[in-house]
């Protein structure tokens, strides 16, 4: 692939801190992450001509606050996977000449809720008519609704569901930035507070404040200006939609957007599963990585639970998964996808806290909403 069409991530960084940050607004988190990513890229806002972020507070506000004169803007907001969509959209825009260097920002005051958007939905919306009346209380009682059917049809056990949280904590234990670092057992998971049967607290993601940002450009531009850190190449990407309401998924035991976006990304990258050294799967709840492993074909139907329980995704395993600790142990602001990309970039660069040896290719799978939209990125340390 020519240096002009080879899209690279040249800058990637998170906010200085993650966790409980009541002194920084949603906007402040975006801007801090943006400054850090620009510094990582050795750039200033003057180098940026494209901007992508979700609609809180939106690309116009971020561009204005940073002093970026953007000639390309993307406000795609499809939940926590939006930032994977932004990377793919940025790649398309850059190849089409609509922008040269795109800044993608995430900031969310998920815990402290400083200038965070409200939860309210119109009682006339689909959700307001056909889900909200039944006492769903955010993701813990809606995102989780598919799990019993999944377990029923695949033979996945409750213990295996708990093992997902246990495995990811092993990675978090090696990561000083992870919010939850102490090793846990399956018994600890079952002893934690019941949130929504079959989910105990430790099978649910954290709720934190934080942000992250990426700078995306061409290899040609990156090589022309020089860069201190290894370039991370976008080898393939895919995006797809499933259902606006979890109750309307065509199949509760499979996430169509994981299936279709991973197939598209793998095809574009020209890779197969054995080429993948490192994997990030959005883990808002413990069942979601099991869907990702099966839907992307890393394991066969009904095999994901045992695969995780046998340690294959843990440190030393053959498919390191969610190596920052994931949304359940590292951080989860609400739209976690940015942090999954950040960890993949660190692993490909060789600078992760819990670094996996010799990562040449990393795959990131993002979920948006509750099985609403999904995207997959294939990142690598060399051009396609």
């Amino acid at each position: 692939m020519s240096a002009k069409d080879d899209i690279v991530i040249i800058g990637a960084a998170e906010t200085d801190e993650l966790g409980k940050l009541p002194n920084i607004s949603t906007m402040g988190l975006h801007l801090e992450a943006a400054r850090n990513a620009l510094a990582d890229a050795g750039m200033t806002p003057a180098d940026i001509d494209g901007l992508a972020t979700v609609q809180t507070p939106g690309p116009v506000s971020i561009a204005h606050a940073l002093g970026v004169e953007a000639r390309w803007l993307d406000g795609t907001g499809v939940g926590g996977t939006s930032f994977l969509f932004h990377v793919r959209h940025a790649a398309g825009a850059i190849r089409a000449g609509l922008a040269e260097t795109v800044l993608i920002t995430h900031g969310e005051s998920g815990r402290s809720r400083v200038d965070a958007p409200g939860w309210g939905r119109s009682p006339q919306s689909l959700n307001g008519q056909f889900e909200a009346p039944y006492g769903v209380f955010g993701p813990p009682t809606a995102f989780t609704l598919t799990a019993l059917r999944f377990m029923h049809e695949t033979g996945t056990t409750l213990e295996q569901l708990a093992e997902v949280a246990v495995a990811q904590r092993r990675w978090a234990n090696k990561n000083p930035r992870a919010l939850m670092q102490d090793l846990i057992t399956v018994d600890d998971v079952f002893a934690s507070k019941m949130i929504a049967w079959p989910f105990n607290l430790l099978m649910c993601c954290l709720v934190t404040d934080g942000g992250g940002a990426l700078v995306v450009t061409t290899r040609e531009k990156a090589e022309a200006r020089g860069h201190d850190k290894p370039l991370v190449h976008l080898l393939g990407a895919g995006e797809a939609a499933d259902s606006p309401m979890v109750s309307q998924m065509p199949d509760l035991t499979s996430f169509g957007a994981f299936k279709r976006s991973s197939a598209a990304a793998f095809a574009e990258a020209g890779i197969t599963h054995s080429d993948v050294d490192h994997l990030m799967i959005y883990d808002a709840f413990a069942h979601v990585p099991l869907y990702g492993l099966e839907d992307a074909g890393f394991v066969g139907r009904g095999e994901a639970g045992a695969f995780v329980a046998e340690g294959h995704t843990s440190p030393g395993g053959r498919l390191p998964l969610n190596t920052n600790g994931g949304g359940m142990s590292y951080t989860h602001t609400g739209m976690y996808g940015m942090f999954a990309i950040q960890e993949a970039v660190r692993q490909v660069r060789g600078e992760a806290a819990a670094q996996v040896e010799g990562v040449e290719r990393s795959v990131v799978m993002g979920n948006g909403g509750m099985f609403m939209a999904g995207a997959t990125l294939v990142l690598g340390n060399a051009p396609r």
Binding site: P123, Q124, Q129, F130, P198
Partner: protein
């Protein structure tokens, strides 16, 4: 501040026949006259064949338990119900909907997947909500 009340749906022109059915004690869903498939949630065109020739039919009020959670935290207005069952049920026509289970203990041992259910209607705001009870329970 008064305690929150349970959310009440407000119909749109497209969904009104469904809610009118619930008020009349009928579970009405759409059927595509072009391809014969059933459709839920209500919408102006068939997602399978894109025909706009949809008719309203009355489902028989039975369903099976497709999946569920038992919520141990109260959604708005649900403080006195905790723990309560939020379920996805499947109608004989194959369409699914979210609901609450009633007249059954919120205990996994009482809630095998695919158990037969029947609809009951509960007034909420200006509409009646379709809830589901075990098929064998007293009306």
């Amino acid at each position: 501040m008064p305690p929150p009340t349970k959310p009440a749906p407000v119909p749109t022109p497209e969904t009104l026949p469904f809610w009118e059915g619930c008020a009349a004690g009928e579970l009405r869903i759409q059927r595509c006259q072009a391809c014969g498939k059933h459709v839920f949630y209500p919408r102006p065109a068939c997602p399978h064949c894109h025909s706009t020739d949809l008719e309203w039919v009355v489902s028989d009020g039975t369903a099976t338990l497709h999946s569920y959670v038992i919520s141990h935290r109260a959604g708005p207005g649900f403080a006195e119900e905790v723990p309560y069952v939020i379920a996805i049920v499947e109608l004989p026509e194959g369409v699914r909907m979210m609901t609450n289970l009633v007249q059954v203990e919120a205990d996994p041992a009482q809630l095998p997947l695919d158990m037969p259910l029947r609809v009951v209607f509960e007034p909420r705001g200006d509409v009646h909500l379709p809830l589901f009870a075990p098929a064998g329970s007293a009306a």
